[in-house]
């Protein structure tokens, strides 16, 4: 790969050890993909996770004096102060890793968004920008809904890109590689956000790895419907980009999405397939111990939906009711009165927190419900059944499902 004079000086250590390590990783990736050169990015999103591999790299950069050159946001870990006041059984060694991770991201000058939907508020890409967005649900959103360009990054490669302000030019940064691979004909009636959850889950399962082009979508999907489709297609598959011609920005026709070259698979989705996905996610029924919402983080609109459903109701004594959102989402939800309604009903709204974290250890042997297959997939619980938000709320009030 061609390197500029400045890049060679970085590799020689003139800008410090942290910056050198960051570029070394990007060059290894560039070499693997036969990239010709590095190109500038405008922003990055590091899918910080509070795990040991994450800690090692961010501390390596932080201790080596690296600083982010472009805005670089962070994924949720957990709200350490809040959860340790509430629970006393969170393993101290895991808590220590989370603490150090969050401190190190601060040291490298990242935006401490601790949100998995940073494109909603804290770090919003523009159309046709080159960016480095890790977090498997954020990658397809910025590629497809916004029309920025990013590869499927790991947390570390995205952080390295944020530090250098560049990425090797390969993959989805190149127009020719952004062409559709599978045609998905949607005949199912898509009524609400949860139908997009099921659609994403099914498409991910059928396509696996690729760029699906979806036809038959009859109306503009909402922000939340797009978020669900992105997140769930990366639970069952690896979908870094998709097209819904007319509703996503980059191609207005199916032909354009395939760049005139369609030779791939054809998949049809009817109500039956979505119903089967739904049934697959009903792993048990009966008494529930918790309801977990906000994976990915709930938007302000969704917090409003929860508040409306809970208004004047009381959550069952035996059910813990959690909603995860971003810090900015919670500030606005408080202002709009949603948080007080949810809390009055017995629920909790928590920020900075991911489902895949040690703070949920109290629920390790518990059975509950969620509206997200992604939440259920993490196996932080004995069992998590997946259903519509309305059903989750109703079950929380009754204390049982089914």
């Amino acid at each position: 790969m061609y390197l500029t004079k400045e890049e060679e000086r970085i590799l020689a250590g003139e800008f410090g050890e942290g910056t050198r390590k960051a570029l070394e990783l990007l060059v290894a990736i560039g070499d693997a993909y036969d990239a010709e050169k590095m190109i500038p990015i405008s922003r990055a999103h590091a899918a910080s996770s509070g795990q040991e591999g994450d800690l090692y790299f961010v501390e390596l950069l932080a201790d080596g004096g690296a600083r982010c050159r472009v805005p670089t946001s962070t994924n949720p870990v957990y709200d350490i102060g809040y959860f340790h006041r509430l629970f006393d059984d969170i393993p101290e060694d895991e808590a220590e890793v989370a603490r150090r991770v969050m401190e190190a991201y601060k040291q490298v000058g990242a935006i401490l968004s601790w949100s998995c939907i940073p494109y909603m508020a804290e770090n919003i890409p523009l159309y046709s920008e080159n960016v480095a967005f890790s977090e498997s649900s954020a990658t397809p959103y910025v590629n497809s809904v916004i029309g920025a360009r990013t590869n499927r990054e790991a947390a570390q490669s995205a952080l390295a890109a944020g530090v250098i302000g560049k990425v090797p030019e390969y993959g989805l940064l190149i127009r020719e590689n952004r062409k559709g691979t599978h045609l998905v004909e949607v005949e199912a009636s898509l009524k609400d956000e949860f139908d997009y959850t099921l659609l994403g889950y099914y498409v991910g399962k059928r396509v696996g790895y690729g760029i699906p082009v979806l036809t038959g979508i009859s109306r503009q999907p909402s922000t939340e419907e797009f978020i669900n489709f992105c997140a769930m297609s990366n639970v069952s598959g690896a979908i870094s980009m998709f097209y819904m011609p007319r509703f996503t920005v980059e191609a207005s026709t199916v032909e354009e999405a395939f760049q005139g070259d369609f030779s791939g698979d054809r998949i049809t989705v009817t109500d039956r397939e979505l119903k089967e996905c739904y049934e697959e996610l009903q792993t048990t029924s009966g008494q529930i111990d918790f309801v977990m919402l906000g994976c990915p983080h709930y938007t302000l609109k969704q917090l409003g939906d929860v508040a409306r459903l809970l208004n004047g109701k009381k959550i069952h004594d035996g059910v813990a009711f959690w909603v995860c959102t971003s810090a900015t989402g919670k500030v606005l939800a408080e202002r709009n009165g949603y948080v007080s309604v949810i809390e009055k009903a017995g629920g909790r709204v928590v920020v900075d927190t991911c489902i895949d974290e040690p703070c949920w250890i109290a629920y390790k042997n518990k059975v509950g419900m969620t509206d997200s297959p992604k939440c259920a997939y993490y196996r932080r619980f004995k069992e998590a059944m997946v259903a519509r938000l309305q059903d989750c709320v109703e079950a929380a009030i009754r204390g049982r499902w089914g």
């Binding site: 990783l25 693997a32 899918a47 591999g53 994450d54 090692y56 790299f57 499927r152 490669s157 895949d356």
Partner: protein, 139 residues
């Protein structure tokens, strides 16, 4: 019988040197689905189920699974000193490259001959990523 030796050119992704007994997998590997303390593959339906990848030269088509679990998986093996000594793959992708980079295990691809044709589990393999060279001593 004299064992035969063959040297192949390769393409370096992560540099370094590693040698050991070869372990060949025709299926993609997720390091998270191995026992972090021993290196034994736990994934029940995997062709390497029950085999140990510790200190082996691992030959496999590609990585799989989400970035967080894959990276953390190899990292935990390395913490317990049971990571593979070198990785020979067909398709390297970003997550696998990051994983190998973090634990400083040499990673190479594009051998001049198909590694699945040449290398058998149990062969002794030296991976000199810096010199873009893989030497195989047939068992």
């Amino acid at each position: 019988m004299k064992s035969s030796e063959i040297t192949l050119k390769c393409h370096k992704i992560i540099g370094g040197y590693g040698e050991g007994e070869a372990l060949v997998s025709h299926e993609p590997i997720c390091f998270y689905l191995t026992d972090p303390k021993t290196g034994v593959v736990r994934e029940r339906s995997h062709e390497l189920a029950g085999k140990n990848i510790a200190s082996k030269v691992l030959v496999f088509p590609s990585g799989k699974a989400s970035s967080v679990v894959q990276i953390d998986g190899l990292f935990k093996l390395a913490l317990h000193n049971v990571a593979p000594k070198a990785l020979i793959v067909k398709d390297a992708e970003t997550v696998l490259i990051v994983s190998a980079f973090l634990v400083k295990v040499p990673l190479v691809d594009r051998l001049e001959k198909d590694p699945f044709e040449i290398i058998r589990s149990g062969d002794f393999v030296k991976v000199d990523a810096e010199k873009c060279r893989v030497t195989i001593t047939m068992k």
